[in-house]
Symmetry: C2
Subunit: 403 residues, 2 copies
């Protein structure tokens, strides 16, 4: 019997309990083992829940119960979640989490602790909800030198952009709709300002490149600066605007990681990823491009990933299964400003000055544009070069074009 | 030191040697272990290859060398490949393969033997080339009841259909082009008649549903019956023709599996999968739909999957990692004829008779159609029902519409 304790009985935590107990027979058939939710830790009581009798309020009970094999942490944040994770690992229990904030800030430290205590710290659910991505990247692509990880990592912003593109809603109207549908929080800043995507690209980059990358090291731009004008201009050249988290390995071993909206060509499979779906593309030297697609959030998809990790942890109870990376440092990341790409620019200024700076540039057109508005695509250059060349223009929106 | 023996030094076998040796350092860094290609078994000699000195002609050398830990079988077919696989497993060596024919016909038997001998039999490369799919399905989605597996499983036919759709080439011209580009064999029947996709859906269905399904149990239709007329009609209703392998779990526990060309709506991410790319969609009760996308064949993508399995086998040398399924039988599969779906039909016959049979049917139009040609979409019904209702028509092409 594998005894599981769930920390936090919110959306994901209750989904985990439902999937574990609802699929009791199936999981036993697949693994040859019985799983049981022994405790649920929460500050609240849940008298009406079928799991109500297992709710406790004191973490010590879990920590000191030798029967507990796997602790599922779905509290979120890097405060008490970190403390309980450390205490669970120190008590020799494997920990499974969906907590991207904690993994992004302290993954290296917690993985080291898990290794020391010969237990697992698994976090498939921290990126891409139910989409298998951490394991495939770590395990199925282990024969590859990874060049790039790039993804639509946040469902809320992808929903907002989809509605802006498809229905012509303004950012504000699309955000309001997302909130009404439960796709966006009342305080949407972690999503729309890109911080959620930032944490996820940190985790993916660490798995892909083997060094911890901290959110503070990753320049992060959300979608609040994207207007319908930009959506229209992108459409006029067969492209869609998508918020991407990217991490690229440079020739010198450094990593360039950032989060920003991009223009993505319609022929790219990522352009067709709409609504709250996520997609993550990985480029390896042997495998070429592979992409993983699915629901990036939600109660049951996230629980699917957590429970699969619980099963995996149980399978490796007496063996070593160490997903691992080295500590971070100032030497890990290179500035995104030197990363060369084509650019989309919307600006105010003189068309003559623009033509002098970028000979042969084609201006894009949209219905209802002011006379002084200039929108165009550039050739490949760095951000630094772009700003030097176009110093005479007042930028309104500058986005990379994914090439 | 992990010693590897490669059986068959063709495209995949030589790719495996290149990736294993070319990434020696990276793999050691990731796994803490050294890997070495100790033997390459082939009937030929390769005096000009850097691996030429390791080529041997007698399998016994490998079988009897206790230093060999992992045997890579890239011979193909179910003849000598099966014999060597059995002998390697019996000798206590893990076996990794890209041989879909062998896994589809004898997977259950070989997995049982591996289990008995406490070694691994792994075949990530047998489906989808380098795309991680077997492991994610087995491991990362283990908390799900799987309802359906559906995929573009053959790159050759997807290339041919892409060229028919995009460039208006006839099937014959597109096939010739595929052969010239090295995407199709001189004898293309295994691809264009759907047998390759059939083997792959058998493997996926066994992993997803836990019973062996034999290729003979899977009705298989290739793309030789698809004409440009059908491509045009599909286009007129916003759909693309794709060859799909599908396996669905029925309410009574049986599995409906088949291979056939389908009309796929443009809004489905699979419609955008072009050229030699593959995509596999899995529907689970918790995770919803997830899709895996990438190059489904080729030397290095396939080698990427094989080498990752070699690493995985080495990691689990002293532990159990059993991917497993039950034996097959006549009770496993239900007839695809009773599976309900909308249909696309191109036929000759009387429009009045058609309207009597399917009141309200809309006829599709294309440039250059003969007067007697009728093309239309039906509502959802079984194949049996379709044939009864439309008994008066001479069918030219009947394709399911993916819903």
């Amino acid at each position: 019997m594998i005894n599981v304790a769930i920390l936090g009985f919110g959306t994901v935590g209750s989904g985990v309990a439902e999937v574990l107990e609802g699929h009791r027979e199936l999981i036993t058939q697949r693994t040859g083992r019985q799983f049981r939710v022994k405790y649920i830790l929460d500050v609240r009581d849940f008298p009406d829940s079928p799991f109500g009798d297992r709710v406790i309020h004191d973490f010590q009970t879990i920590e000191q119960d030798p029967e507990v094999d796997v602790v599922v942490e779905t509290i979120g944040g890097a405060g008490v979640a970190k403390e309980y994770t450390q205490r669970a690992l120190r008590a020799g229990k494997s920990v499974v989490t969906s907590n991207k904030e904690l993994v992004a800030c302290c993954g290296h430290e917690l993985l080291q602790l898990a290794k020391e205590k010969k237990v697992s710290y698994l976090f498939e659910a921290s990126v891409g909800g139910g989409i298998p991505i951490i394991s495939p990247l770590y395990q199925c692509l282990s024969a590859n030198e990874i060049f790039e990880v790039c993804g639509i990592l946040n469902g809320t912003t992808n929903y907002i952009l989809t509605r802006m593109i498809g229905a012509g809603l303004s950012f504000e109207a699309a955000l309001k709709e997302a909130q009404e549908n439960g796709y966006a929080e009342r305080d949407p800043s972690a999503d729309v300002e890109g911080h959620d995507a930032c944490r996820k690209i940190c985790i993916l980059a660490a798995v892909a490149f083997g060094r911890h990358i901290y959110p503070e090291q990753v320049p992060t731009e959300g979608i609040t600066g994207v207007s319908l004008a930009d959506v229209d201009y992108a459409d006029s050249v067969g492209k869609k605007i998508k918020l991407l988290g990217r991490a690229l390995r440079n020739g010198d071993g450094t990593v360039t990681a950032y989060v920003a909206p991009h223009l993505v060509d319609q022929s790219d499979p990522m352009a067709g990823v709409v609504d709250v779906f996520n997609a993550i593309k990985i480029r390896g030297d042997a495998v070429g491009d592979v992409m993983f697609y699915g629901r990036g959030a939600g109660k049951l998809p996230t629980a699917s990933a957590v429970v699969s990790d619980v099963i995996d942890a149980a399978k490796h109870m007496n063996t070593k299964k160490y997903l691992d990376w080295q500590e971070g440092g100032e030497d890990v990341c290179a500035s995104a400003d030197s990363l060369v790409s084509p650019w989309y620019v919307r600006a105010e200024g003189s068309a003559e000055a623009l033509r002098r700076a970028l000979p042969g540039v084609s201006l894009l057109a949209r219905h209802g544009a002011a006379d002084s508005e200039l929108a165009f695509l550039t050739g490949p250059m760095s951000r630094t070069e772009l700003e030097e060349k176009l110093a005479g223009l007042s930028f309104r929106c500058v986005l990379r074009v994914l090439d």
